[in-house]
């Protein structure tokens, strides 16, 4: 058998974005032997890209705000498909998690009386996002990273985890991977594992996600037999850059709209007024004048329709472009230049200013931006128990974007950063509890280990096969074209056929060069997860014959009453078969249900 390095810990956290770091801090505070394993360098995870802020009902700007309002906004934004208990915990605990960051050194923007300032975002009734200009994710990851380093948490960087292995009792016992710099294999054994591996967005052509977002955690959990829920819900953020083509998909923060920016079509019209859905009509302005007054007076005016939840705005932009009213490069115009002073724009949105100036040669204080939808976030994911983030596999926990349930059918902007903190901490606590209660030394089966090594080495040992880049390219094109923002049964079925073909092609993938820092080989080892996750998404999308949140079916344009009551649960059986079963949503208690009844009139 191949030689390998091994490490043993109490708790291993895979992924060092916000959720992973927060979980690790919790386990380390308990005095457990804790380590983080991450695919990039520490501090480079996708959390760093989050711009607008972290939603928490602190009530610093609008004292009317409280966790119940936040809970209600989150559930309505998620089209009521959220796990109510997760949405409740999130709304209740987010403020404490933000204040905690401040004690650890975060420097948020301030109100006039020295408290943490909060900004408006889509779907949030009150200005609720704690932020630092438009680089909140950087502040969050740096604060957590510095805290983790100060605590002496072990960090294994640039290490790709390939598979989770279980012991004879079915508990996850090991993570098998390799060091990207050396290409050598490594095994981490531990009593509990937390997956915090982020997104799946790299399987689409136009995405705000980095190369890392290949759904490793989603796939590893599914391969280990964990339940996956609602994988069909993928958020297309309404505003990504569209030009130049090489930067297409890079995120333009919702903060632009929160701070006064508006969307216009090629005729100069604020088209969002034409797309206000009935569900939000009562709380959305129907004239430009009212929408404009709202920025200064939330009490007597309703919010402008540009700040509807992301799924609504993305679909509307899509319709305008399809209707021939798009911008020159196939987007629409996002205009803040004509509405706010140059000084205000540069102060509130400094990185957007630089991003457009340097990548597109566009001065956003002078002219509108061109924007269009970009694949951004997976609402679905690994099924977890709301209070503990325990998956359905013993010893395995999941937090952050790779877990499912919290955001239902559509995530509100700003709820992701707070999700990372709230559920990262909870996963850390529960994983620590599990590790402390687990008896015996975690064991691995040498045969299984050898099989993982062999599978990873196969592309390097083959010659004359296909390039992993070609397979990735065709996968991205398939998912963009057939499983994108607007879906139909025939295209989804076609996508399954394409995925079958891509899996067949993957069997002959070959890469050249050494094992040391070889991106071609690294991609070849990412592809199995990308293919698995794409299949889960597509299968869910076929069965959900309705339009809801981040899942829009051209052939079923309305929400379905029956599908409103179920999660679509998918599993991969030990022999590789995919199963799908609708299961009833957890029932919301009566006292929370009244929050929605009160608001109905």
């Amino acid at each position: 058998m191949t030689d390998y390095e091994s490490h043993d810990f109490d708790v291993i956290i895979i992924g060092a974005g916000g959720a992973g770091l927060r979980a690790a801090i919790e386990a380390k505070e308990r005095g457990l032997r804790t380590a983080l394993v991450c695919k990039s360098l520490l501090g480079k995870a996708h959390t760093v890209m989050a711009e607008g802020g972290a939603a928490a009902a602190m009530g610093n700007v609008w004292s009317e705000d409280n966790w119940k309002v936040h809970f209600r906004d989150t559930m309505r934004g998620g089209k009521m498909l959220n796990n109510w208990r997760m949405a409740q915990l999130h709304a209740q605990e987010a403020p404490d998690r933000i204040y905690e960051l401040e004690r650890w050194g975060a420097l948020f923007d301030r109100t006039a009386d020295g408290r943490i300032l909060q900004r408006d975002f889509g779907g949030h009734r009150y200005a609720r996002l704690a932020h630092v200009g438009d680089r909140t994710g950087l502040e969050l990851i740096r604060t957590l990273q510095q805290r983790a380093v100060a605590m002496g948490i072990e960090v294994f960087m640039e290490c790709k985890v390939l598979r989770l292995l279980k012991d004879s009792e079915g508990r996850v016992s090991a993570a098998v991977g390799y060091w990207r710099p050396s290409g050598e294999f490594v095994i981490f054994t531990a009593k509990a594992f937390v997956l915090a591996t982020g997104s799946i967005g790299k399987s689409w052509q136009y995405t705000s996600n980095s190369w890392e977002s290949t759904g490793d955690g989603h796939a590893m959990a599914a391969w280990a037999g964990a339940d996956m829920i609602d994988m069909e819900f993928v958020q297309f953020h309404p505003t990504g850059m569209v030009w130049p083509l090489s930067v297409r998909g890079i995120l333009v923060t919702e903060g632009v709209r929160g701070d006064g920016g508006v969307l216009r079509n090629s005729e100069g019209k604020r088209f969002m007024f034409d797309y206000i859905p009935a569900m939000f009509a009562a709380e959305t302005a129907d004239t430009e004048e009212e929408g404009d007054r709202w920025y200064d007076d939330h009490t007597n005016n309703r919010r402008p329709p540009e700040l509807l939840p992301r799924d609504e705005v993305a679909r509307s932009i899509n319709s305008e472009v399809k209707g021939g009213r798009g911008s020159p490069h196939g987007g629409v115009f996002l205009d803040i230049a004509s509405r706010r002073s140059a000084e205000y724009i540069r102060r509130r949105l400094p990185s957007m200013y630089h991003q457009f100036k340097e990548l597109a040669g566009v001065d956003i204080t002078a002219v509108p931006m061109e924007v269009g939808p970009t694949c951004h976030y997976a609402m679905g994911g690994i099924r977890v128990e709301a209070d503990t983030e325990a998956t359905t596999v013993p010893g395995l926990f999941a937090a952050g974007e790779c877990s499912g349930g919290m955001h239902g059918a559509n995530r509100l902007g700003g709820n992701s950063l707070s999700d990372l903190l709230v559920f990262g901490r909870r996963a850390g606590i529960a994983a620590s509890d599990f590790a402390e209660g687990r008896t015996g030394t975690p064991t691995v089966d040498d045969g299984e280990v050898s099989a993982v090594f062999a599978e990873a080495m196969a592309p390097l040992e083959r010659s004359g096969g296909e390039s992993p880049y070609d397979i990735q390219h065709d996968l991205q094109e398939t998912m963009q074209k057939l499983v994108g923002i607007i879906r139909t049964e025939s295209e989804l079925t076609e996508a399954i056929g394409e995925l079958d073909k891509l899996e067949g092609r993957f069997a002959s993938v070959a890469v050249s060069g050494p094992r040391t820092y070889n991106p071609g080989w690294n991609l070849a080892t990412d592809l199995p997860a990308m293919l698995t996750v794409s299949r889960l998404t597509t299968k869910g999308a076929i069965v959900r014959r309705e339009s809801r949140g981040g899942h829009t079916r051209d052939d079923f344009p309305k929400a379905d009453a029956e599908l409103a009551t179920v999660n679509l649960v998918q599993r991969i059986t030990p022999d590789g078969q995919y199963t799908l079963d609708p299961e009833a949503l957890p029932a919301m208690p009566a006292e929370l249900r009244t929050l929605f009844e009160e608001e109905a009139h």
Binding site: G114, L138, R142, V155, S210, P244, T516, Y517
Partner: protein, 284 residues
């Protein structure tokens, strides 16, 4: 459109050479886009780091035509037309392969920073009050995306491997200044900076400031004020007397250092060549 030529350093710790790649020119591309097309075509094993592709994560630092840049923020049409674009790894750090270097020195130095020690909260609910003007100094330094290009161009360590043991470098100096100017902090890191972190070795050539992609005024706003603070603390007789006779409000460096992170535990952050960090001893 015309072709573009990228002249890229390829190799490993044993040595390497520049290789030319001729690619079709595409409108609006940055250097990293061309690197990606080379990976997807002629050189699938060409090693480089990248993540966000939007200048926010600081992963893709390289020396382009002899000067450090983020590859994701350097537009091809801003480079001299018709000439090859020379792309080399950062010189100050040991080579892993091609454009990827071992930047573990920076992570080692980060572990020596005594963390924030917050003062008592201002409000009964445990929250703090800070004015925008007071957080803005620290916010400038917290814009740092850790691209390590300031470390790359710093004369003290660029061609002086032996100095790395005793020199935190510009990236860490802005971290120290951020903490020193933090409205909540009650730690004192001045003696640590003077004795162990080599603050005195900086001769203020401002090369770090020039290459900062976040336009942080590293020298003017961090290094010079830090030098002043350290000098005040060490040599100012009034300050010395004050420390002797007045009740200190800040903790001493020794006390601060006692809280410093565990320095002896090596982690993977030390990378394949831990020799860089080997000579560093915990401050006492």
């Amino acid at each position: 459109m015309a072709d573009v030529t990228l002249t890229i350093w390829r190799g490993d710790p044993a040595g390497g050479a520049f290789t030319d790649y001729v690619m079709p020119s595409v409108e609006g591309e940055v250097v990293l886009d061309v690197i990606h097309r080379i990976q997807a075509g002629p050189a699938p094993d060409l090693a480089c780091r990248w993540n966000c592709k939007a200048g926010k994560c600081g992963s893709c630092s390289a020396e382009i035509n002899g000067r450090p840049h983020l590859m994701c923020m350097t537009r091809m049409d801003e480079l001299p037309e018709g000439e090859p674009v020379v792309v080399a790894p950062m010189r100050t750090f040991p080579i892993i392969r091609d454009l990827v270097t071992d930047v573990s020195f920076n992570y080692t130095m980060a572990r020596h920073v005594p963390p924030l020690l917050p003062r008592a909260p201002d409000a009964p609910d445990g929250t703090f009050r800070m004015m925008q003007v007071d957080v803005e100094r620290g916010q400038e330094f917290r814009k740092c995306i850790e691209c390590f290009m300031c470390q790359d161009v710093c004369h003290v360590i660029r061609d002086h491997e032996e100095n790395k043991e005793h020199f935190a470098g510009p990236r860490m100096f802005i971290r120290y200044m951020e903490l020193e100017s933090h409205p909540l902090d009650s730690n004192d890191r001045r003696e640590l900076l003077r004795q162990r972190m080599g603050l005195g070795m900086c001769n203020i050539t401002k090369c770090c400031t020039e290459v900062c992609p976040e336009h942080i005024k590293i020298t003017d706003n961090a290094i010079i004020p830090l030098k002043e603070r350290v000098v005040d603390s060490s040599y100012d007789p009034v300050a010395w007397l004050g420390r002797k006779i007045l009740r200190r409000t800040k903790r001493s460096a020794a006390e601060a250092a006692a809280d410093a992170p565990a320095l002896a535990t090596p982690t993977s952050a030390d990378g394949p060549t831990p020799t860089v960090a080997a000579g560093i001893t915990p401050p006492s």
